[in-house]
Amino acid sequence: MKNTVISNKTAAYNGALIAVAGVFAYSFAVMLYTIIRTSVSICSIMPSPERSKILWASGFSVAYSVGVFSFLMAMVSSMAGAVAGVILRRVLLWLNPDVHLSKSILISSIVSLVLLLLLYLVLYILLKERITLQYAGTFLFWYVFPAVIFFIAVLIGGAVFSNSLMKEKTNKTPKD
């Protein structure tokens, strides 16, 4: 394990980067959705001379607050990403030493699901009845979409790690 290109530190760093990228990608989707929906509403109410001012003000206020919130979430998520990266590295090296891509994807999926389960268990203990299915939008926004992004991020992480191991393996083969 110690001889691999990707160390624990690099796995943590890459995990953190992928998590931060996931947060920003999600923030862009949320920002666009909110700006479009509020703008449609504004356009249907405000007459043209006053419309542009409120459209700009509202749009930039949405973008700014989403930016601040995503910056805070990126800091929290980078830690979760770093932990996930290290766990994924260890599990992949343990269960997939010969580095098969399909096996890596399967293992990454399982690791991702287990981590999500643990994460949501902690959230459930902390929030209890505030996690409600009463509003589909709320549930999708806070739990389902982030979970999908997390799942994809872990798969990407697993693929990146396996690719590095494969490259390392290929480079070592002539010497062996």
Binding site: N14, L17, I18, V20, A21, F24, A25, S27, F28, T34, R37, T38, S41, I42, S44, I45, M46, E50, K53, I54, W56, A57, S58, F60, S61, V62, A63, Y64, S65, G67, V68, F69, S70, F71, R130, T132, Q134, Y135, G137, T138, F141, W142, V160
Partner: protein, 201 residues
Amino acid sequence: MRRIRKFIKYSLIFYAIIALVYWIFIRPVHMSWGATAAEQQMKFPADEFISPDRIVTTRAIAIHSSAEKIWPWIAQTGQNRGGFNSYYWLENLFAASMHNADSIVPQWQNPVPGDTIYYGEGEGYEMISFVKRNEYYALGGWTFYLDSLDTDHTRLIVRYPSMEVKQSVLMRAYYYGLFEPLHFIMESGMMMGIKQRAEAK
């Protein structure tokens, strides 16, 4: 990984530009959105609740309707009444359980000082502090004032006293980073929501 690093870098640059534009051009506008200099200086009964250390916004919107037609929508304000006439879908992302009434509900037409008005389900609340039918309605220091110009034109002026300036760094970061822009979005949405309902035939 290079592409991911690049994406993060450009995202940070993008949000930095947004923040810069927001602080230089947008914030000075939204603090008094639509309000004239005279409207910003107007005195309202609930101003007595506003300490000099507070950041105060005064916003206004022109409504092509009489104060009598606008009033019922203001009178039924509140999560536990007819909603806030704003972006309910945005409020419900935070499980506020918000429903905006699309009709005037008679049982909510007589707000009196001391009535409790909820901002969201199981969340913060405020007492009605001042009410004068067809003229003003205040939740604490948050005032909705109807300035009747003639039988068909009214100015809705909204004054909101938000945070005291002397706060911890963390509170200030929360206020300037999240609360203030979000409050502008929701309050302007509310004012436009009232306009839309009052102008509807």
